[in-house]
């Protein structure tokens, strides 16, 4: 198999007896803009923290740019910019000192880049970190993750705490970096931003990957949203899920052949019918919440 930016194979992490992630097999191509979605506690951060060598997998293995995450950790970290979910820094330092400490630890001079980023994100470098708001602390995290222009960005819930304008600025920076060839891997529980910016996405739920595909394919999964008005009895045939009734409206998800759907529906009486593709949010929510019984 050729080299991927990130490749995991049956990656599993237990914290004692508690589940972290189970059998996560994932592939992120170089140059991709990849969204990693899941509710809180699904295992997004566990996956990311394992990739970065902060925690050690119980079993399975993973590579970044073809390098083993345990054996070649330092060389991987040199190529990576990481934004932690809860970015914490040394509280009694000034923002500017923290940024330059980070660059000294990397042995890279990135003053010009840091300055540009601070200006674009409107981050005041003379403030003390302890006095920063959550959003400003996040911005500091972003500058530290981006200033050395790495080949791979691993961003854990990058937009939480940022106001909408800053979120937009952040994504436009990430899109620029992506166009220049960098790989972006971000986790999020905000479906909208993933469907807007990412080319590929994976959904993780209760520690397991439920789907991993291009955002385009995910939008056309063959799942149809069916709404019937004034139907004579509750529809019941193969491949129906998420059935809900509201007044004289009956909605359900149909996953299967469109012809079969029409044939099945012809057995019912109703006053109106609408069949449409669900939008991406609804698709993701579907994977998010898991299959209904």
């Amino acid at each position: 198999m050729e080299r991927a930016a990130i490749r995991t194979e049956a990656l599993t992490k237990y914290y004692g007896k508690n589940r972290g992630i189970i059998d996560v097999t994932l592939r992120v191509e170089e140059g991709d803009f990849f969204g990693f979605i899941g509710p809180n506690g699904a295992g997004k951060s566990t996956t990311i923290r394992t990739l970065l060598g902060l925690i050690f997998a119980t079993s399975g293995k993973a590579e970044v740019f073809g390098k083993d995450i345990v054996r070649d950790k330092i060389s991987i970290l040199a190529d990576t910019g990481y934004l932690p979910g809860e970015a914490s820094f040394y509280n009694n330092m000034k923002v500017g000192d923290m940024i330059s400490y980070a660059s000294r630890l990397r042995g890279v001079d990135c003053r010009a880049e840091a300055e540009t980023l601070c200006r674009r994100l409107e981050l005041d470098t003379s403030r003390k970190i302890g006095e920063l708001s959550l959003g400003n602390r996040k911005k500091l995290g972003i500058v530290i993750a981006l200033q050395h222009r790495p080949k791979l960005y691993i961003l854990d819930e990058p937009t939480s705490g940022l106001d909408p304008l800053m979120q937009q600025e952040f994504f436009s920076i990430m899109e620029e970096r992506n166009r220049e060839g960098a790989t972006v891997f971000l986790s999020s529980h905000i479906l909208g931003e993933v469907s807007r910016y990412c080319r590929h996405a994976a959904v993780i739920r209760e520690g397991r990957l439920t789907v991993c595909d291009s955002v385009e394919n995910l939008a056309h999964t063959g799942v149809k949203y069916v709404t019937l008005q004034g139907v004579d009895r509750t529809p019941s045939f193969e491949n129906i899920s998420d059935l809900a009734q509201e007044g004289n409206l009956t909605r359900f998800l149909y996953r299967g052949d469109a012809n079969t759907l029409i044939k099945e529906l012809s057995g019912y009486t109703f006053s109106d019918v609408a069949v449409r593709d669900p939008d991406l949010d609804e698709v993701f929510r579907h994977f998010y919440e898991g299959e209904e019984k």
């Binding site: 914290y15 923290r49 970065l52 060598g53 902060l54 925690i55 050690f56 950790k73 330092i74 060389s75 970290l77 040199a78 990576t80 990481y82 932690p84 809860e86 970015a87 914490s88 820094f89 040394y90 509280n91 400490y101 980070a102 000294r104 630890l105 990397r106 530290i144």
Partner: protein, 260 residues
């Protein structure tokens, strides 16, 4: 050496305060000796005559009529206990504070091996202790010279060397414990330092507890023994060195594979 330099800078205030307090207290006790000396002859008999209390602090073996006897006890109290507490606090928080303040996630995702970070942190810890002791030693010798008590400088230096070694041992053991902690452990560090201090006192009082002398570094840094023998007890010191080494080794081994 970026982490090393950063650690020194970060611990600067703490180092300055501890050094200043120890220097101040120790210099005062040295400088007031001339006024005390005249009364010391009677005091020596009284101190040596307080039974278990005297043995506990080694006062039965010391001659308060001489400057060095007086200095051994005061130095033991101020530099011995003060230095031990400083070493314990600095050692126990060296590694653990990154996890407590949640900065570990930043530090350990920079392209540096954990071994390298831990080594630089340990080096900074040792250097801080050396600085404190160098300043204290310089100030004390200067004060002793100022009051004209230079006869026993050799023994004074030996005493302060013993307390330096004691601090290095306690710092190393606490450093090892630090690697296992998830949050701050200052209470554990202080508790350990005080426990070791009292172990020595107990072993001074009762013969049955003599074995404790091998455990606590306060045994080889016992002012009364050092002044009497003019040398450090190598058996106790060897055990102490082994404990210190075990502490440092534990820190490195644990941190190589610790989930942060």
């Amino acid at each position: 050496m970026t982490v090393f330099a950063f650690e020194l800078k970060r611990g600067r205030l703490s180092l300055i305060i501890w050094t200043a307090v120890i220097v101040f207290m120790l210099c005062i006790t040295v400088l007031i000796y001339p006024q005390m000396a005249s009364q010391m002859a009677t005091v020596t008999d009284m101190f040596a005559d307080m039974g278990a209390f005297s043995t506990a602090f080694g006062m039965d073996k010391l001659n308060f009529g001489e400057f060095i006897g007086y200095f051994a006890v005061e130095c033991g109290n101020v530099l011995g206990l003060g230095g031990a507490l400083f070493a314990a606090i600095m050692g126990i928080s060296a590694i653990a504070k990154e996890e407590k303040e949640r900065t570990a996630e930043f530090l350990y995702t920079q392209p540096l091996s954990r071994t390298r970070v831990v080594a630089e942190k340990y080096a900074a810890l040792i250097v801080q202790i050396l600085i404190l002791n160098a300043v204290v030693c310089g100030a004390v010798i200067a004060c002793a010279a100022a009051i004209g008590e230079t006869a026993d400088i050799g023994t004074m230096l030996l005493l302060m060397l013993a307390y330096l070694l004691l601090q290095l041992e306690i710092a190393s053991i606490c450093f090892g414990i630090s690697a296992f902690l998830r949050g701050g452990g200052i209470a554990i560090g202080l508790g350990l330092a005080l426990l070791l201090y009292f172990m020595n006192i107990i072993s001074n009082i009762t013969e049955d507890a003599k074995a404790l002398k091998y455990v606590t570094p306060f045994a080889y840094a016992d002012g009364a023994d050092i002044t009497a023998s003019g040398t450090l007890n190598m058996k106790y010191l060897a055990v102490g060195a082994a404990l210190a080494l075990a502490g440092v080794a534990a820190a490195f081994v644990k941190y190589r594979r610790k989930d942060l």
